[in-house]
Structure formats: C-alpha cells, structure tokens
C-alpha cells in the first residue's frame, strides 16, 4: 500500500490498485472521492472554496482550489485513465464549522451546498456523504476496491 497525499487545493487520480489516496485535516474544506469499480480508477479532490468567480486567475492556476473548477477536472482526470461517468461512485466528506457559527464564516455550509448543486446539475448522485459537524476529518480512498474511510479528529474511523 502506497499513501499518496492530496494537499489542500489539490487533487490526485490513480489506477494502481496498491495506491491509497489520502487527504488530511479537512476543516471547512471538502474532499470528493470518486471511483470507477470496473476500470478501477479513482480520484480524490480537496477543495477549499465554493466558487471560482472569487478569483478567476487563481482558479486558472489551480482549479482544485474551488468546487466548480475542481470537480470537473477530477472527473476528466479519471476519464483519461479509462473511467466512465456512468460508473463513477461519488462520496464526499468535510465542510465542518465552528460552534455557533450561525452568522459569519458559514464556509463549510457553502462548500457543501456548492458541491450538491454541481452534482445535481450534472445528474450525478452522491453515494454517501459525511459532512458538517464541528470536527476535522481525514479521508482515505483505497484504489483496490474503492472503499472510502473517514477518520474524525476524535479518533474513530468509519467507512462511508
């Protein structure tokens, strides 16, 4: 097993069964894990912000920073390794917030809403989602079988 680390505003794809794509410390950011069980191709995106219109130049340099630019690149990168849209399984985690954060940051909620909207528009179903809450998460995607695990900062690991 080889851990391939996905940083903040970063994405990685792979078709090597021994690889595990991992991203640490998702606060309000979101990890989108996609997997094609037939082609055994998977990808993991860790985006930071919902909407690229905030800074188009940044989005051009680094599409993985935003949901609306990162998600399409994630899918296209998987297609180039032989994945097909109709077979892709999508899972997502992250989008946490601070306690009582009702009136200002809301960045976690905005990230969740942006992702749901993009998948809805593109007729893609989100298979499972572990979002919100007041804790950080680490996400792992095992390329051998597409299983996706979330570890919360409290310690427990679960499959989503």
């Amino acid at each position: 097993m080889v851990d391939i680390v996905v940083g903040i505003s970063d994405l990685k794809v792979s078709h090597r069964p021994e690889d595990v794509l991992v991203t640490y410390a998702l606060g309000s950011c979101i990890a989108v894990a996609v997997y094609d069980p037939v082609a055994k191709v998977g990808g993991l995106l860790h985006y930071m912000l919902p909407d690229s219109t905030l800074d188009l130049e940044k989005a051009r340099q680094n599409p993985a920073m935003f949901a609306d630019t990162g998600i399409p690149v994630l899918f296209k990168s998987c297609y180039s390794l032989g994945a097909e849209k109709r077979r892709m399984i999508v899972r997502a985690a992250g989008g946490a917030s601070i306690l009582d954060d009702t009136n200002f940051f809301r960045i976690g909620q905005k990230n969740i809403m942006a992702m749901r909207k993009i998948f809805w528009k593109n007729n893609v179903m989100i298979e499972s989602e572990d979002t919100g809450g007041n804790f950080n998460r680490t996400v792992r995607l095992a390329l051998t079988n597409g299983k996706t695990y979330v570890k919360t900062s409290g310690g427990s690991i679960k499959e989503i």
Binding site: G27, L49, D55, M65, I98, L99, F105, S153
Partner: protein, 281 residues
C-alpha cells in the same frame, strides 16, 4: 487541581537565553549586525533555525543565505524579530512532548505558525501594516496546551462527554474540569518568559477577547486568525473546531463574506511560502 496545573509551569523549559539577549539588542535603535551575529552564533540550534527561516520563500530574499551575518543584514529589523522569535519558540515546541490535544508536536507548531501568518494577513488588510507584537502573540497563543495536554489526556473522557453530549465548547469543558483553561495557562507561561503584558493578555484572552475591559485589537486578531487556521484544517488539536466564534468579530473588522474567502486563499499561499518554517518542528 488548579494548584497542581499551575505548579507544572515550573517544568516548562526556560525561554532560550539567546533569544532574550537578541531581543534586547533589537529593541535598541543602534544595534549592529556584528553584535547580533556574535550572540546568534553562540547558540547552534538558533543559528540553524535562523538560516532555515531566512531562506524560506515567505521572507522573499532574492539570494540564498549561507551565513548568519548575511541573514542578519538582509532580513531587516521587522523580519529579524520574527525570525528570532520563531527560531526560539520552535525550540520549545520541539522540547515539550505534546499530549492530549495532538498526537505529534508538529501539529501544534504548524497551527501556531498558520495563526501567526494569518494574523499578518488580517493586519495588512485591516490596518495596512504588519505587526510584530501580534505575530509573536499569535505564534504563542496555544502555548498553554504544552502543559495542559497532560491533564487533558487524563480527563479526555470527561471532557469529550461535555463537548459531544452537553454542548460545551472545549474551552468551557477545560474550565469545568480543571478550573482553568489552556489560554489562561498560556498567559502564565508567557509571564514566566517575561513577555510584555500586551502579548500575555492576547494569549490569555484569545478565545474570549470580549472579556478584556480595555479595548485592544491584538487579542481579537489572534481570535479570528485562530478560526481561519482551524477551518483550513490546520487546527491546534482535538479541540480544533469545538470553539466558539464571537459574533461581534466580523462586524468589528468590517469583513464581507468575500473578504473572508479571499483570506483563505492568502493563508493557503503564505502557508506554502512558509513551508520551511512550518516544518521546523
């Protein structure tokens, strides 16, 4: 319990003497690079750290710095104070095993650096300039966790029960279980290290700047910077997002939602440029 915790402050290492001597020199108007270099070179660990920090992209020096004299003459006073504080504080973070809140000491260090970087982004944006006092306060804001970690580890079940089931913030749970929180403890440690009142108070009140009777901006800047870093996932440990955001913060700084998002991009950028600093511990 409070007595026992306060007593543990004695166990924390003395602040590196080299750093204190350098700060005295830097606070004089007429320091010379030669004088500074003599003090720095006396301490191998500080020398190594100064060179690594000076060469990080964050300070943007055009040439690669090879000697202490070169670093000291190229950095300028503002960056020198930061470099020297960072070099000194990183040694302490390395020396004290982090327990309870984090699994590795580097987690707490990376959070501290991220909050320090964020404090300068906000200071530039809101006050048009950077601020060394704020930088140092931000770097040290969670120093209390180095002592508190041991107690938090022992009382973890009780604390997490309050946080996950009873609606407490982590800080409130600390207060209830121990009678003191990590911020207050950090203020006491800063006192032991002879930091000025402004820095001590910013550490002590970084979760509750509203409790300070005088209106002072530094604790509010640290409060907000802490939240930015934690939301980015660079948190100070298990308590990370289980903290309260004071609602008056954003109106006070007159930040719109778009500004907040832009600040995340700036923090991401600075964390990348300061990678060498983040990896010191």
């Amino acid at each position: 319990m409070i007595e026992k915790i306060l007593n543990s402050i004695k166990a924390i290492p003395a602040f590196p003497e080299t750093v204190q001597r350098l700060m005295i020199l830097l606070n004089r108007e007429d320091y010379s690079v030669q004088e500074l270099a003599t003090v720095v070179k006396y301490d191998q660990a500080v020398t190594a750290n100064v060179l690594r920090i000076a060469n990080s992209a964050y300070f943007g020096l055009r040439e690669k710095v090879k000697s202490v004299e070169q670093a000291l003459s190229l950095l300028g006073r503002k960056n020198l104070i930061r470099t020297i504080q960072t070099a000194g504080v990183s040694r302490i973070f390395r020396a004290v095993p982090a327990r309870g809140y984090v699994t590795t000491g580097s987690e707490l260090w990376q959070h501290s650096v991220a909050v320090a970087l964020m404090s300068q982004i906000l200071s530039r944006r809101i006050r048009g300039e950077e601020d060394n006092v704020l930088y140092t306060a931000a770097l040290l804001h969670d120093v209390g966790k180095m002592i508190m970690g041991e107690y938090v580890e022992e009382a973890m079940t009780a604390i997490m029960d309050k946080v996950t089931r009873q609606g407490y913030s982590f800080l409130e749970a600390e207060e209830e279980v121990f009678g003191i929180n990590h911020a207050e403890l950090g203020g006491k440690i800063a006192e032991k290290w002879k930091y000025p009142e402004e820095i001590r108070d910013a550490i002590r009140y970084h979760h509750r700047p509203d409790l300070l009777s005088e209106e002072r901006p530094v604790p509010w800047f640290v409060h907000l910077s802490d939240q930015f870093a934690s939301l980015m996932g660079v948190d100070g440990g298990i308590d990370g997002l289980a903290c309260r955001a004071l609602e008056q913060t954003i109106p006070m700084f007159q930040l719109r939602h778009k500004d907040l998002e832009t600040c995340f991009i700036l923090l991401h950028q600075d964390m990348d440029r300061a990678k060498d600093v983040m990896n010191l511990v």
